[in-house]
Symmetry: D2
Subunit: 298 residues, 4 copies
């Protein structure tokens, strides 16, 4: 099978390599020439433009988009559109909002698969988890590619119609935020607690048989191994938040209570800003109790 891969960042390169390793052909493109060169070294045919990718793929084109969510996906689709017909399949493997994916599926002549991709850099060896939405035929047709990119046949599945792949991935990320913060609370309590503990040893012991063992806990173990039990100079600043925000927005629309996911997201926001609410509480304690007001610079 032949696959066009658009977007050769870290994740895109892994797609290229795993598809090649499974014996398929790849036509790769990125606006970054160095990334294209890397793909060429790996054995991919390369192209100088999206049009050229399309031309190289002949009939029944299969294209995997691995570009940043948002305008870049629409721009890529704009360029591909003139070359696409109902026999073609486009996969969006990025973190698009599911409503964008529904819209794009309706707009394009090709079959459109929205593919939530999870796994991070470990995916290079292990493969990814792929949550896929869109037409059944197109999913079946691309199965060999999904087998190659995923951890195996159990690592990918069709969730349902258009948008459902990115929908499930959105919720996956919301859960991810909450899991990270839950482990964080536990380790914070241990760190501030009554015993002088080696948190790497705690994480290792837990990872070997405890109920809360997980891949994220293995990453905790690795973090303590590399940064030290007090996390060295790692700052209290958590970036990101878009997929978590989408999850809470969707929960609001569906009227589903998600207090842990919301709180985990709020912790990220809180790590990045002044907390006016607490400053007011500080001042109010003076108002009713004449407690001394803590001032900046005190």
């Amino acid at each position: 099978m032949q696959l066009g891969v658009i977007g050769l960042g870290r994740m895109g390169q892994i797609v290229v390599e795993r598809v090649l390793a499974a014996g398929h052909d790849v036509v790769a493109f990125d606006i970054d020439e160095a990334a294209v060169a890397t793909a060429a070294d790996a054995g991919a045919e390369t192209a100088d433009s999206l049009s050229e990718v399309a031309d190289s793929l002949g009939e029944e084109k299969h294209v995997w988009l691995m570009v940043p969510a948002g305008d870049a996906v629409d721009a890529a689709l704009d360029d591909l559109e003139p070359h696409l017909s109902a026999d073609d399949v486009v996969v969006d493997g990025g973190n698009s909002h599911f409503e964008d994916s529904v819209r794009r599926a309706e707009r394009t002549d090709a079959a459109y698969l929205d593919c939530g991709t999870s796994g991070g850099p470990a995916g290079a060896e292990l493969g990814f988890s792929l949550m896929i939405g869109g037409p059944e035929d197109a999913y079946a047709e691309l199965a060999p590619v999904f087998d190659a990119v995923a951890t195996g046949p159990d690592g990918h599945d069709r969730m349902g119609p258009s948008g459902s792949g990115h929908y499930v991935k959105m919720v996956h990320n919301g859960v991810e935020y909450a899991l990270m913060q839950a482990y964080g609370e536990g380790f914070e309590l241990l760190h501030e607690g009554r015993y002088d503990l080696d948190l790497e040893a705690v994480a290792r012991t837990w990872n070997n048989g405890a109920v809360i063992r997980s891949w994220l806990l293995e990453l905790c173990e690795e973090a303590f191994h590399e940064e030290g039990t007090d996390l060295g100079d790692v700052a209290d600043h958590v970036a990101g938040g878009s997929t978590g925000t989408w999850t809470v927005q969707e929960a609001l629309e569906r009227e589903v209570p998600v207090p842990l996911i919301h709180q985990a997201l709020a912790e990220r926001f809180a790590s990045r800003r002044d907390r006016f609410s607490r400053r007011l509480a500080n001042r109010l304690r003076y108002g009713f109790g004449r407690h001394e007001v803590a001032r900046r610079g005190d």
Copy 2:
């Protein structure tokens, strides 16, 4: 009626003044001589020791303790104990833990009233809200004093047996934490929101007829008036927390969910410490996504 008042801090002085103003006699004592002098200026008889207070009160002694919660209450009771009989009444008007009050009520020969006192400095003119636990007879006997110290007859009531006054006050304070934080969240959103607002004007408009009008909101209005709409140099550091902690501890024992009260308490803790949990989340995002780690000093 004659009342001994032990402890002449800000709250104790208000008790002295309001009881005197109602036409009763006061015998006042504090280890701080300046505080004793202030009470004397207000018209109180003074004493040099707890024993002397007891001696001055004659038969059927009425003593109001307004000392810091904890050891100071036990120390005062130790000194008073030899002078007390079943005809006497001791009121603890401080923020004692209700279980301490139950224990003290059992230990002392006098009738013991635990009296949760709320109202802050405004109580000087307005009077306090008094939540009182202990024997009905003793409560009835002290009613003239409670009338004087409270906002009036509706400002004090017997909640139930020993401990119930401080129990209700404990929960009052837990609610207080949550109310403060709730207003804080609203003003934080307005402060960070889409419009350039005068928060004092917002608070004033709300205080005149809106559903959320309250005394705490009047204190918000005052805070914005005095500190400015951005709260000037008021720091993100909220002190205190003992009664809120007791409230959550009791909720845990009774298996009652109190997420807002707990969160308001957790915000205070968070304002006073490094957040290890978020530092770990920061680092984990590198682990699975190779997102750049924010470092202290970046």
Copy 3:
């Protein structure tokens, strides 16, 4: 001054009555004839259609819309539009989303004031709190009407440009949800706590001088008075939620942490649905610990 009032529900009637009582003239309309008759009894001139309202008002029309948020506002504006010019002022006194108000202000030829209205039925005697957004001139022109409808000059204010009135009202309601839930947690703990308490007496004592006294706490006192200390047959089902949802959505966009407001909203959602999350937790405890699974109908 002459004011057209469109929408004669409970809130609209109060506007009519208070404006009349202040000596102004009112032209009233509603699709419900009985409501129109009530306004007529109160002394208002009435009309059979929006066009007729417009015709009755002559030059420099002042129209107060008090219709349900959403399509009804747009429908009323559609009907009024042909009659409006730059000299006229339209007030939307309902709970519209601030972005709708911005859009409507841009679309209409008249000056458009978005007016958040708070206070509930007590507003009939007391007046409302009015948070107003839009052009300064129009706000100044309508001041006599606002004086009449509000608790007085301090009960209304111009928050800022178009949308800011409904923006501040939206946040007001988010705070309101959190305050209600905070009081609820406190009373739940008292209800399930160690003492057999009269919650009406607790609320009354608090309302007389305690830090947490407020209008909502007066409503708690009234609720316990009318329903009993165990709230009788009042169900665990909290309706509503749109303005709270908007508040959390806006907080997500501004990246402001609002855990208490979110939790209060989530409690409403939770009161109205099956909690799948907890059913899964129930089942998972069997998975790792062979704890018995509680089944429906057990």
Copy 4:
């Protein structure tokens, strides 16, 4: 090595079997004769009393307690005490509170190891995660037994001095509550969401390579496989909570914010009781807005 095992419930039997399988000798006791018979079938020597266990073990006794946390541990220690000396080692493998373990370690003449044990029934084949507190010598001496019971050398470690094993296990369980609830929120949103999803397929896809893969997620997959995607008749009732309560209590003492762990615990409480707080909110909406009150039986 020879090991006395006291308490032959599900977990105790696994200890017996794994220790025997590693080539050691076991003397087993339980008050339940059927449980003793099971241990005998597995190859253990059995005893009729704790004294007989002690007698059978000779010098340098090694005893593993696997009895319910609380009084049963103290009762077992009372019986063992006369037979113990400084050369002996007692392991408490149950879910004791860490402060009880510190107290017991001080009281007993033997070396005392508090051993948090996690892993559930899967531990029969895989082994457990063992978090151990107490004297280094005793830990080293029992290492062969820990190797046998744990998943291997990485599945057990000495956390620190007395109590630290149960301390780390307590926090483990607090995190466990939060993880369960986080997955639950995600699956609840998917269940109530826009797509008709097969939640077993979602869990399986996630377990194969996604960031949030874990043993608990494997148990989710199993739960959906066995109960169906809507969890059949599994009730909204989550039992348990003691170790989670201890975790939050400790967090309160250390002033560490643990909002997710607290919320997960509060969800358990909420699943088991009437929510008075929400009933009051329901009623308050009538108070300020004349919204209809939902009544039981409506």
